[in-house]
Symmetry: C2
Subunit: 372 residues, 2 copies
DNA sequence: TTTCGGCTTGAAACCGCTTTCGGCGGCCAG
DNA sequence: CTGGCCGCCGAAAGCGGTTTCAAGCCGAAA
């Protein structure tokens, strides 16, 4: 029982129009009253909020008759629980984050779609967060993101996924995370792996089978992308196994970009003897190689075989179309989201191991037998 | 002065272990206590929650001394207000949505980044929502999205931005929205416009100046993309103004895709006489034209001039590089977000008019004088 | 001295939903 | 006839903020 003393009334004589709230009297002709709440449902169904809550959350401890009655009212009212209030009580936001610093648009979009595919059916949405890993504010920035919307978990894309300081930060924030990586690092549990080393070996095998011997590689930025390192290792080892050492003059480091690809190709193509095949670290780089070959009047694949990595849309748009390794990017996004959900829900299910996907070679027009 | 009555203590005789809350005694050795709340701050500062709230929200009605004291404690505690609770009280989620059904990855990513650039500084985050506009569940799907996270507003990308039913739905949900469009439709207010008609006219002018007369166009899917219609109108009108009618046999409809571009080029290049220039509806389509030209052994631009639209990364990767219209996509995202924020905040500022951006021509290698 | 109004501040209600902790009635074994 | 367990349900206490509505303090005006 509330005591209310009926005192004041003429406090603010004029000036301010008291507009506290229009009570239940807003049922005008139209329909623009406020959204129905669980209280409205409870009142109409003549039960307590808790019972309505039970129905919403599919508790088994509700009599069938009661359940249907409440369900009907919910439907009639078009009621849907307020996510904020729900989140507040549940201590969950039903929001996952996707953190990336990756210029490769198709890659990011595909991961996004894959992740959303898995998240949606669990009632989760995805918050995207491009960032600059070189900024001094980088970690603070991420921290703000996490706390500002209290994300339930995040997915990290390369290369930020390889940042140990970031992983540590997330751990200290008790924010579950999954890292998308191209090689197993320390922590095997929170990871979706793409086996880049083995994939690069496949490229080597392809080139060897075609009969190439003067084989070059433009490796990605080894310092900032683990995948660059993995692809180099896998490629050169596989080459060596076939008696085809990767010669130092045939190895240059690019930046995984179109421009650097063109510049590196410039270098490689001025070696003598000229390599007959170039494994570009990724498709962007391969496009750069195309550019240089074009400017020099070299025909692909007659004068030069080019191999990419990723199978981005670009690969099939180029002329000639580019032989490349296809990564199941969408699947990786999906896997990452599923693992993340499992962590958040603390499902006792599968043992926490790394999920692994395997790229495979897509042979197109840019690879052929050497001419010389 | 606060009055506190020291009453009850033995209310719950047995059975339940009262664990209401560990008061201030949680200062264990470690640091894994729960996140500090506004209550903690208030207690430590010896003020009410409300005053802390005032400091958080930068109310001017707090004495300077009090403010700094509270601010210090906030900093020491590392307190940051819970977004859920805040949202619940504010009736805001600090979340915007980005809805798209667009296969063009760079486009989407750039819009995303532009939008985030503007949203972040207002404390907002972005929830992405790819969708299938042809699904029968389309509208329901969007509705679920909006209510499930109670988005404060959404940005619509083409072609879903052109869907009137969707706009109506959002209006009925009282969800502010901004549409990114390529032409003014009904409602001028909630729109960011890209002037595709004028842009296409620029292409026509470029071709005319180069001396082309047998000019073809592959128009996008007119039924599902307004931009396709606009580009066609702008192009053919501008051509007509220069006495260069767009001949029916030189006009075919594609799907804004690589494959359709290749197929349409097939058609156009088998006309006799062959066109000397093709305006592809977008860059993807242009890549398809490149493909067909490549297969037929036609040299670009010597045998054929090709023009794209968008200036996606693809345009500069192709060999020869593609002349195309550059759209300021990032800016469009930024503009859209800013307009949306203005609506949400109900800023009385600028009059609600459409924001407009203008693409401009980027001349590269794929356009030259006609050979015949 | 009293009144008035501006500056500060706080108690309580509230946002909409969940959890805690029981209560109540029926059924079965003791 | 009890005691106890089980299925079903509700009152109240949160969750962590903000708003409402006063109220205390103080100097200036009356």
């Amino acid at each position: 029982m509330r005591k209310k003393q009926a005192v004041k009334t003429a406090r603010k004589p004029a000036t301010s129009v008291k507009q506290h709230r229009a009570p239940a009297s807003i049922a005008r002709s139209g329909n623009l009253e406020r959204r129905p709440t669980i209280n409205d449902v409870a009142r109409l169904a003549n039960v307590s909020k808790k019972t309505v809550s039970r129905v919403i959350n599919e508790s088994p401890f509700v009599r069938e008759e009661t359940r249907t009655r409440i369900a009907t009212i919910i439907k009639e009212l078009g009621f849907s629980p307020d996510p904020q209030a729900r989140g507040l009580a549940f201590r969950r936001s039903f929001l996952m984050g996707l953190i990336y610093d990756n210029p490769n648009a198709p890659y990011v979009i595909n991961i996004q779609e894959g992740a959303l595919f898995a998240l949606r059916k669990m009632g989760y949405e995805l918050v995207v967060h491009p960032c600059d890993r070189t900024s001094p504010e980088f970690l603070n920035d991420i921290k703000r993101l996490i706390t500002r919307q209290k994300l339930d978990g995040v997915i990290l894309l390369p290369p930020v996924s390889e940042n140990p300081a970031l992983a540590a930060l997330l751990k200290s924030l008790e924010c579950p995370y999954i890292r998308v990586l191209s090689a197993a690092l320390d922590d095997l549990e929170n990871v979706v792996l793409s086996m880049d080393r083995q994939s690069a070996a496949e490229v080597a095998e392809h080139l060897a089978k075609l009969g190439h011997t003067r084989i070059a590689m433009i490796v990605g930025p080894v310092a900032s992308y683990r995948s660059a390192h993995e692809r180099l290792e896998g490629f050169s080892n596989a080459l060596a196994e076939r008696g085809l050492k990767l010669m130092p003059q045939y190895l240059v480091e690019g930046q995984y970009t179109f421009e650097s690809g063109a510049a590196c190709a410039e270098l490689l193509l001025s070696r003598s003897p000229r390599p007959t095949a170039i494994f570009a670290g990724n498709d962007e780089t391969a496009a750069g190689v195309y550019r240089t070959a074009y400017l020099r009047g070299l025909k692909i694949p007659d004068d030069l075989t080019v191999i990419g990595f990723d199978d981005s849309p670009l690969a099939s748009r180029l002329c000639p179309s580019l032989t490349t390794m296809r990564q199941p990017i969408r699947d990786m996004g999906k896997l990452a989201a599923e693992k993340l959900m499992a962590k958040v829900a603390r499902l006792p299910g599968p043992p926490p191991t790394a999920s692994t996907v395997f790229p495979h070679l897509v042979v197109r027009e840019s690879s052929g037998r050497p001419n010389s």
